[in-house]
Structure formats: C-alpha cells, structure tokens
C-alpha cells in the first residue's frame, strides 16, 4: 500500500480520487509478472518462484517500472506453476525455479518468448503464447473469477485500482435498499452453495422480517470433497466477498456480518483477516462507511472440521459456540436464525457475484445463462480429466463442453464413465447424458444436483459401487447423529454396500438400498440427510448392471474390488524378467527364463504387487 496514506476515506469522492491517483501512478510502460499462488500452483512451489522474480526485479537496472505480483488461482492447475507476463498476456506453464532468470531476461526485459515454457496445443502440438489462445480458457466466461490472477489479494489498492468498492459507492450514493434487492432480482441470481434459492427473495424476506439486530453470514465452509472454488475466491480476491456482503447488508438492514471459514483453509482465513483489516483502515468497514449513515462490521470464525456445518442452521449453531447440529427448517433462518434473530446466509461465490451485478446491472447478468439459471458458475474440474483445474462457465453449457473442450477429455486413452457433480449429496451422470445443459434444474432432473460446483470425472477403471460406498462412508462419518434416519440409515446402507463390494452381496440388496434411500429422503431432518442417498440412487439408476455383476456374478467390471477379479499373466507380453516372481509376497508366481510366468490362483492373495511392478504391463486384471 505504497500510495494510500492509510487515511480513512470519508466520502465517495475520496474513494474515486484515490482510484484515479492509483491509476495515474501506473506508467503505461509498466511490465508485470503475475505468479499464480493458488492452491494447486502453491503446492507445486510457486511462492518460491514469486520470491525469485521479486529478487530479479529489485536487481534489474532498467528505467521501466517492473512489478512482480503473487496472484490468485488462474484455473489451469494441472499445468502449474503458471506465470503470466504483461504486456502481451504471455502464458508460461510448469515454470520451475531455474526458469525464472531466463523468463526475466528474455521475456520481461527482452520481449522475446521462451518457447519451451509455452502451452502446447494437445491436438496440433502448436505452441500457444497467450492466454486467449488456449482452448481451456476459450469457452470460459469469468465473472466471479474476473480479477483472480490480476490482483494481489493482500493489497486492497490492487482491488480498488480494478474498480473495487465502486459498486458499494454506487449503492450508498444512489440506490435505496429496495432498489438493490430489485437489481439482484432482475439478475436472477440464485444461491451458489448448492440449493439454488433465489438470492433476492432471501434478502427481501430477511429485510422484511421483524427483529433486530439482523445478521449477514458468508458461508465459506466449503466441505464438499473435490471442490475448491470458494477457497480460490477467498484466497484470490477476498475483497470481492467483503464488498458483496457490504452491499447485501445495506439492502437487508444489517450491521453485523460473519464469515465462517472451513478449518482446513488456514490461508483463506489469513487472507480474509488481512482484507478486513485493510478495509477497516480505509473506512470501508466500520462506522459511517464512506461518510454515509451505513455501518457494518465483519467477524471471521473458523470451522472445527465438520462437514455438516456447511448446512445453514448447523453453521449458525456453530457460530453460537455449540456442536453443529442442524434444526428443522420450518422456522426460516431469515426470520429466526443466529441467536434467534433474522439472518441471511449466502455462499462465497454468491457474494462475489453481487458487486459485478451492481456495477454492470441485473439485466447484463441475466443475459448470461439459461431461462432459470442466470450468470456463470465456477466448477472445480478434477479427477480423471486431462486439464484439471478451476473453470468458470456460463450456465447452460453442456457437460461435454466442460469435460472435452475445457477439460481436454480423459487421460491415457481411457473411456469416460461418469461425472459426479454436487458433492456427497449429488449424483453420477453417465455418458449418455453428457449433452445435458448445466443448470440447477437440468442436473436435478438427472438425479444429481449443481451443488457447490465440484465436478469429478471418472473413467472406465472406476467402480461405481465403490464410488457410492465412498460417499456413503463419508456421509456416515459426517452425520451429526441428531436424527435417526440419517444416523442409522447411512450405517445400514454402508453395511450393505460393504458386503456387495466384498463379494457377499445378496439378491435383493439393491431394493433394500432403495428402500432405505426413500425413507431417508422422506424423514431426515436436514438437507444432508435428505440427499445422502443420492450417490447410491444415481449409481443404481445408471449403473445397475455393475451392482448386479457384483451381487450375482461376484465380479467387479471395473476390476477395482479386491476378490472380484483375478490377476493373470499375458503369455504374449511376458518377457520372463522375473520381477513379479521376486516381488510376490505369497510366492504364487512360477516360471523360468524364456517361458512366460504363471500365477497360481490358489496361492494368490490378490495384493496387486505383480500388477504394479511389471514393467511390460503383462499382468492383467480379468
């Protein structure tokens, strides 16, 4: 924060002046190095790259201004660490420490490309130099992630320079609370946390509810395994979440806000804390914000590592310092939520969309997407897909476009089997529905749901019964135990699934699972329990043959369930090297030089060591 004098901004004019000053101080010739320090790139060592670039900048003896920035997630995590150079929008992938000096010398100072670090088109092999030429980015449209990758999340000045807090200024200077709600209504924004409830309707109900104080909560308890959209936003652009909450609080008439962040995300907490401090210093949070009569304060709470706390009433119980047990929803939280006061809770991504809607208008936002699902949605595209990463697409795009065009299809020449959306409460969608449009209602029709945005791709080697078992096991461990259908129902389901994958399934087990599912859906207390059977039901719906193969033929078609397939040595591929024989712990392999080896099925314990060790892929699963 070199330019700001850390002075409280006491009016909108002062904020505008500050922004103008920031903009004019940046010379047009400025060169920038953006180093992605999102979760994926950071795990691959990008913070060190950033340090090295900073060193290079400080040692460079040139008369142009050069800045190195540590920025949020760029999305294409598979190819990280990612470094982008401006001007020119040059995209370097898989950058390692020794590359830094070369990038700095050649590209930053010399304006030349370092060919070997460019992204290679997977089909044509052509080297692509800029972000917009890369297929992964071409189908995407960024609203929530618009400034991720452009701004340093630890500097409020970066956010302000890009137009940050101008939506708040607009609201405070020219809109009534009702006008704000109407704008969000016109946008057709629906909750990004999974439920898809219309945001404006929630805001209006809370505004009209009797009682004070009113609370505003940001749900950052991103608990779905395989999902990291909210983490990327909180860590990449924390001020956009805060600005969204400020606008929501103004519309609702609240002066107390909470952000509830998952325990596993310590960096998110750190970034948000810093962002709140900086916003407070400038008077963007606190009393009489920007000289108006509106006051708002935000507190951060860390979760304790309980999945169920992503459920709104459980989250509120946790904020009250109690175990996170949900309560029945017939009393609406907008009327009686936290401390039994009117409470409005939205998810991180929902809040992030709000400033964009205010700045560009509800009509603009509603122009993106389908009839009932407006705007964009961020997905974390992971699993058995070539380009794993974070993607933001307009609603209504097909699953096939996401997986093939953006994701680059399935690696290792394998066949696509299913895509799992919606987290543990979602379902698995098979190949025949890949042309379905991604929006709230379509996914629900297919027996899955939008959820918070995890999208896990599975290939032919994935056993769908095991997938169902994985989620059931997950939910059984995370069930809070308050209501019987969820606590006992999941335990029984897991018991049945265990026996099916152990080869002891009984005829009628599928029907038993369906019965339990119906019971849980109808009688469980909260959304976690009501939807807990979705993974089982959707896999039965689309992959019934796999259940039957396990139960009736005692065979796992994906060859993943131990005991439900055999290992055999392919005589043609075997080079008689002896590696399998040396490694077999059960001495089940016999053979000698120049004669293909053989596995004694009686002795084999199915440990899979021979399959893992064979250098010629001559050990087969059959």
């Amino acid at each position: 924060m070199t330019l700001l004098s850390n002075k409280r901004l006491s009016s909108i004019a002062e904020l505008d002046a500050q922004r103008k000053e920031l903009l004019s101080s940046r010379a047009p010739s400025t060169k920038s190095v953006y180093v992605c320090t999102g979760p994926g790139c950071a795990a691959k060592g990008s913070p060190k790259l950033y340090e090295l670039f900073r060193e290079a900048v400080s040692q460079a003896n040139v008369d142009v201004e050069i800045r190195a920035k540590a920025v949020g997630c760029h999305g294409l995590c598979e190819y990280g660490p990612i470094v982008i150079i401006e001007p020119g929008d040059i995209f370097y992938q898989r950058v390692e420490e020794p590359d830094v000096a070369e990038i700095f010398r050649e590209t930053v100072l010399g304006g030349r490309l370092v060919d070997r670090l460019l992204y290679e088109h997977p089909a044509t092999g052509e080297k692509l130099d800029t972000v917009d030429k890369i297929p992964f980015y071409q189908v995407q449209q960024r609203v929530a992630l618009a400034y991720n990758g452009l701004i340093d999340p630890t500097e409020i000045t970066d956010y302000i320079t890009e137009g940050g807090y101008s939506a708040l200024a607009k609201v405070l200077s020219s809109m009534t609370a009702e006008e704000v709600v109407s704008e969000v209504e016109a946008a057709g924004l629906r909750g990004r946390g999974g439920g898809g409830f219309p945001t404006a309707r929630k805001w209006r109900s809370c505004r009209e509810a009797e009682g004070s104080p009113k609370y505003v909560i940001c749900n950052g308890d991103e608990g779905d395994p395989g999902a990291f959209m909210d983490r990327a936003i909180m860590e990449g652009n924390p001020h956009s979440v805060i600005e969204g909450m400020l606008i929501g609080a103004y519309a609702i008439g609240s002066s107390d806000g909470y952000i509830y962040v998952r325990n596993e995300y310590p960096l998110s907490v750190e970034r948000l804390k810093l962002a709140i401090e900086q916003a407070k210093e400038l008077g963007l949070i606190g009393e009489n914000i920007l000289g108006s009569s509106f006051s708002f304060d935000i507190r951060i709470n860390r979760g304790g590592g309980a999945f169920v706390c992503g459920e709104s009433t459980a989250l509120m119980a946790s904020l009250e310092g109690r175990p996170g047990e949900p309560r029945a929803k017939y009393v609406h939280t907008v009327e009686s939520g936290l401390w039994e006061k009117p409470t409005n809770l939205n998810n991180v991504e929902t809040w992030t969309n709000v400033p964009a809607i205010i700045n560009r208008g509800g009509e603009w936002f509603a122009g993106i997407g389908t009839e009932k699902s407006k705007g964009t949605k961020v997905f974390s595209l992971v699993g058995k897909v070539v380009n794993t990463g974070l993607v933001e697409v307009p609603m209504g795009i097909t699953l096939r476009q996401i997986i093939d065009e953006i994701g680059g299809g399935i690696p290792d020449g394998k066949r696509f089997k299913a895509v799992q959306t919606g987290g543990p409460s979602g379902g698995c969608i098979p190949a025949e529905h890949l042309d379905a449009r991604v929006d709230f209602d379509e996914l629900t029709k297919l027996g899955s749901m939008m959820g918070s945005g995890g999208m896990i791709v599975m290939d032919e080697d994935t056993c769908m019964v095991r997938v169902a078992k994985y989620f059931t096991d997950f939910l059984q461990k995370e069930s809070c135990g308050k209501c019987t259908p969820c606590r006992e129902g999941l335990a029984q389901m897991l018991y049945i699934l265990d026996r099916i994958t152990d080869g002891e399934g009984q005829v009628g087990d599928v029907e038993r699972l369906e019965g339990l599912a119906e019971l849980m859906e109808g009688t469980a207390l909260c959304a976690l329990g009501k939807t807990a059977a979705n993974p089982v039901i959707s896999t039965i719906r689309y992959f019934r043959d796999e259940y039957d193969a396990h139960i009736k033929e005692k065979h796992c078609p994906a060859k993943e369930c131990r005991g439900l397939f055999r290992y055999e040595i392919d005589a043609d591929a075997c080079k008689s090297c002896g590696i399998c024989l040396q490694n077999c712990p059960a001495e089940a392999i016999t053979g000698e030089k120049k004669v293909p080896y053989v596995i004694d099925q009686e002795k084999c314990t199915l440990c899979g060591t021979c399959w893992e060790k064979c250098p010629f892929a001559a050990v087969l699963k059959v």
Partner: protein
C-alpha cells in the same frame, strides 16, 4: 499453574468472554498447547460460567479438536474424492502398516500424528499429503513412506547431535 491460568485469561479476554466465541477460544487453546488439556478446559469452563460438558460436547463433535497430546509432527493425508480415486486408500494403508498407526492416532514413539481429512482443496494435484504444513502432491505409497522415514531420520540425527 498460574502460568496456565494466564493463558486462559488472555484467550477469554481476546473474545470479551463472549460464549458465542467458544469454538475460536478452544482453537486458540489448542494452538497454544497442541491439544486441549483437561485442566485448561476446566478453567475455561469456569471463566465462562459454562458446564464442562458443554466444552466436552464441542471438543468431541468437531474433528479438529484433540483431547490427547499429539506427535512431534503432523501428518495429514487427504482422502477427499479425488485423492481417493487417485489412490489415497493405498497410501493410508501403507502408512498404517509401516508405522503401526491408525488414522486419527499417534505413533507409539510420538513421532507423528496421522490424520485423514476430507479434501484440502488441492484436488488438481491429488493425491495430497501435508506434513507440518508442507504440501506433497502426486503422492504414492512409496513416496509417502519416504517422506515419513525422513522425519524419523532427522529426529535421530538431531538427537545424536545433541549427544555429541
């Protein structure tokens, strides 16, 4: 003991004795002590005028709280969906087998506490293991064991240095 009381006092003051901030207070206590010692919980309950059972309910409900001391190192294996699909169960089995430790437990020599968590949000580089805050990506059973054996070695070498 007076020292211990002071820790609790500071924590309670930090949150203005607001019972709604019980979870953050307990998180701070755990950050201070590495786990939640019973005596400290007694003293926290007293200061907040809450029954000890309230604190116990919270401590046992949330997975991140520990009522027993942890190992010298913290080993966290992600078993979220993607890590699971990409082989986390095999890594977990290998660690349990080699170090005789179940998930959630601590090795007998207190070398490390082994935790399995649901998704750390680094799915793009799965499977992921975190040792004392350092991320290891694309982990295999063999590479995980190598890292953990490294922990043991450093420990002994430090001890040896101390002896000589």
């Amino acid at each position: 003991m007076a020292q211990d009381d002071k820790i609790i006092e500071q924590i309670v003051d930090r949150y203005d004795a607001d019972v709604g901030m019980l979870i953050p207070m307990m998180q701070d206590l755990q950050a201070e002590c590495g786990y939640l010692p019973l005596e400290q919980l007694h003293s926290l309950a007293k200061q907040l005028s809450l029954p000890l059972s309230r604190l116990y309910a919270v401590a046992t409900f949330y997975a991140s709280f520990h009522l027993a001391p942890k190992g010298a190192h913290e080993v966290t294996l992600c078993v979220g969906t993607v890590c699971y699909l990409k082989g986390a169960p095999k890594i977990s089995e290998a660690i349990s087998r080699e170090f005789h430790v179940e998930t959630g437990g601590t090795t007998r020599d207190r070398l490390f506490t082994f935790q399995a968590v649901n998704c750390v949000g680094a799915c793009a580089v799965a499977p992921v293991m975190i040792v004392d805050g350092k991320y290891y990506n694309g982990v295999t059973p063999a590479s995980a064991l190598e890292v953990l054996y490294g922990l043991g070695k450093n420990e002994t070498s430090v001890e040896k240095d101390g002896e000589t």
